[in-house]
């Protein structure tokens, strides 16, 4: 039956077309990556230089700052910021997918009274403009001492990703064939066995898609990170914005190097899980 929805095939001609279109689309990103390898004069040269002698100076200065006296170089905190970004986004999205999956299973298999109302309220919390809650959250974090630590921002990002995880994962559960679960129950499988042994394996691709979507949305979050992270927990987008306001104007080479480095992890995660991403989208929105 699955064959019925199989997409057609095309040859290398389509590849060539996709390459041209893709390259045009990718060009602004490509230019950022090229800028990362340029010296300062090359970065702002007119006419723009497509060919130049590449340098790794920008990448070096992401991690080491040479003091004005010259030879001594001092490590910047960017290693920490990269760690923070990976740790905070990864953990928060993982937590959200786990908590969201439990809730989604309940909403799908054990509907509460007023199920749809709950789901609607949950979705609304995702849709609201962040600016409404930022002042109360800021005050709340200051009072409870959560500001500047890992726990606060982790919880906040988890909360951010829960609504959307519930909705997506619920749609996967809804599409499973309940007869398989009933058959497992008849054979004496406990509810836990049905959940972990029967349901979860069937929606793994969907869970991977949910994780990637959440990661893309969380990876780059700026406003809350700016207000709620401290020196120890600062994430890369915040650190990047802080390098903007220099007395000599923005150092585009340095910025480009940060953007390029910051793109690498999310790019590879998306690339590895791309098939799941496409299948997940399909799974979640297309009724069989």
């Amino acid at each position: 039956m699955a064959r019925r929805f199989d997409i057609g095939t095309a040859g290398w001609g389509r590849s060539a077309l996709a390459f041209v279109v893709g390259l045009v689309y990718f060009f602004p990103v490509l230019w950022i990556i090229l800028t990362a390898f340029k010296t300062r004069p090359d970065a702002l040269a007119i006419p723009p230089k497509l060919f130049f002698t590449p340098t790794l100076d920008n990448f070096r200065s992401v991690f080491f700052r040479t003091s004005s006296s010259g030879d001594s170089s001092q490590a910047t905190d960017f290693v920490l910021y990269f760690f923070n970004s990976i740790f905070i986004a990864g953990t928060a999205v993982l937590l959200a997918v786990i908590i969201g999956t439990l809730a989604a299973y309940a909403f799908s298999r054990h509907p509460l009274r007023g199920n749809d109302t709950y789901l609607f309220i949950i979705l609304t919390t995702r849709m609201m403009p962040p600016i409404i809650v930022i002042i109360p959250i800021f005050l709340m974090f200051r009072v409870t001492g959560l500001a500047g630590g890992y726990w606060g921002i982790l919880l906040l990002y988890t909360a951010f990703n829960i609504p959307f995880s519930i909705w997506l994962v619920k749609s996967f559960f809804d599409e499973l064939n309940p007869e398989i679960e009933d058959a497992a129950r008849m054979n004496g499988a406990s509810d836990w066995r049905v959940f972990f042994g029967v349901c979860i394996p069937q929606i793994l691709a969907g869970l991977a898609a949910t994780f990637v979507f959440g990661l893309i949305l969380t990876w780059n979050e700026f406003l809350f990170a700016l207000l709620l992270t401290g020196v120890e927990t600062r994430t890369v987008p915040v650190a990047m914005a802080r390098t903007l306001g220099g007395e000599v104007g923005a150092d585009y080479g340095l910025l480009a190097a940060i953007v390029t480095l910051f793109l690498i992890p999310i790019f590879f995660v998306t690339f590895l899980l791309q098939n799941q991403l496409l299948r997940g989208v399909t799974f979640g929105t297309v009724k069989k």
Partner: protein
């Protein structure tokens, strides 16, 4: 009544907790708890604030002013202007995302060599942060060093300064936003295209239906509701557009690109009219809830259609 040992009590509690009728609430509880602390409670707090004349930079006890904040916000001509700007940006950007996303989806709706790798070229903009897109698009638009300005000046002699005119600044914002989010629309449309049963195309081929007719009678009905989903989702998200505008134009020139979210930010963090900003925030939330309802309505209709 007999006294129970602590162990038995715990067992009793666990048994009570494990009862089948409590399974639903139990599984939902962690999600609700996190959402309550981090979203719903702050939301109610700021709802309360919107009835006071609270200012974040003052120590004074705030006074209760009732609906005055809402009244002031709703009767402010500037606010209506910001709503119009927002509507313009949302409308144009979502339309552009829809067209570009749809065309990209058509391109990738076949299996071809290197498809997986080539699709990454298109998906990457979505993975950039608003800060980096903002900073570098601002550079591309810059009259002297900008890549786009240089390119345009090759053909049209003179000084091209996109962000100097209101129309240009709007176009610049819309271009950056649409570039970033068209891939998202592409993913949704791809999902719809994949769902079209192949035999319908085979039947159309036997009938020698034209390409346009095939699209209108087979493809479009299948992707219609997904397109609607994409429109609503992107509308809701673009409605809140803030970071990218703040970096590229700061709302200028003048107030040409100042959207409602930028306005809320200014009220809250530059003018310190905290309560007024939460009142305006609630009006935005109301609009978003209306849009969300439309979104859900379309989702439900899609599900019913499919059954």
């Amino acid at each position: 009544m007999t006294r129970t040992t602590p162990a038995a009590e715990r067992e009793g509690f666990l048994a009570w907790l494990g009862a089948p009728e409590r399974r639903g609430p139990l599984l939902v509880a962690p999600a609700i708890a996190v959402l309550f602390v981090m979203n719903i409670f702050p939301l109610l707090w700021s709802f309360g604030l919107s009835f006071f004349n609270y200012r974040a930079n003052r120590q004074r006890e705030p006074d209760f002013v009732g609906l005055r904040n809402f009244e002031r916000v709703l009767t402010d001509d500037d606010v209506w202007e910001r709503f119009q700007t927002t509507a313009l940006i949302v409308g144009s950007s979502v339309l552009l995302q829809l067209v570009v996303g749809f065309l990209l989806a058509m391109l990738f709706a076949r299996q071809f060599p290197l498809r997986r790798l080539l699709m990454m070229l298109v998906l990457t903009p979505m993975m950039l942060s608003f800060v980096s897109v903002g900073v570098f698009f601002k550079l591309y638009y810059e009259p002297t060093f900008g890549l786009l300005s240089w390119f345009v000046n090759l053909f049209h002699d003179g000084s091209f300064a996109l962000l100097a005119t209101p129309e240009g600044a709007l176009a610049g914002i819309i271009l950056a936003d649409a570039w970033m989010w068209s891939p998202f629309v592409m993913l949704l449309v791809l999902a719809g295209l994949v769902s079209v049963p192949k035999y319908l195309y085979e039947a159309a081929e036997i009938d020698r239906a034209s390409a346009w007719r095939r699209f209108r009678t087979i493809t479009f009905p299948y992707i219609k509701s997904l397109l609607l989903l994409a429109v609503l989702f992107r509308t809701i998200e673009t409605f809140k557009i803030f970071d990218i505008i703040y970096i590229i134009t700061e709302g200028g020139p003048g107030t040409a690109t100042e959207t409602i979210a930028v306005n809320v930010y200014r009220l809250a963090f530059q003018n310190f009219r905290t309560s007024q900003s939460t009142a305006l925030g609630y009006i935005i939330l109301f609009i978003v809830i209306v849009l969300t309802n439309l979104y859900l309505y379309s989702v439900n209709r899609r599900t019913q259609e499919a059954i």
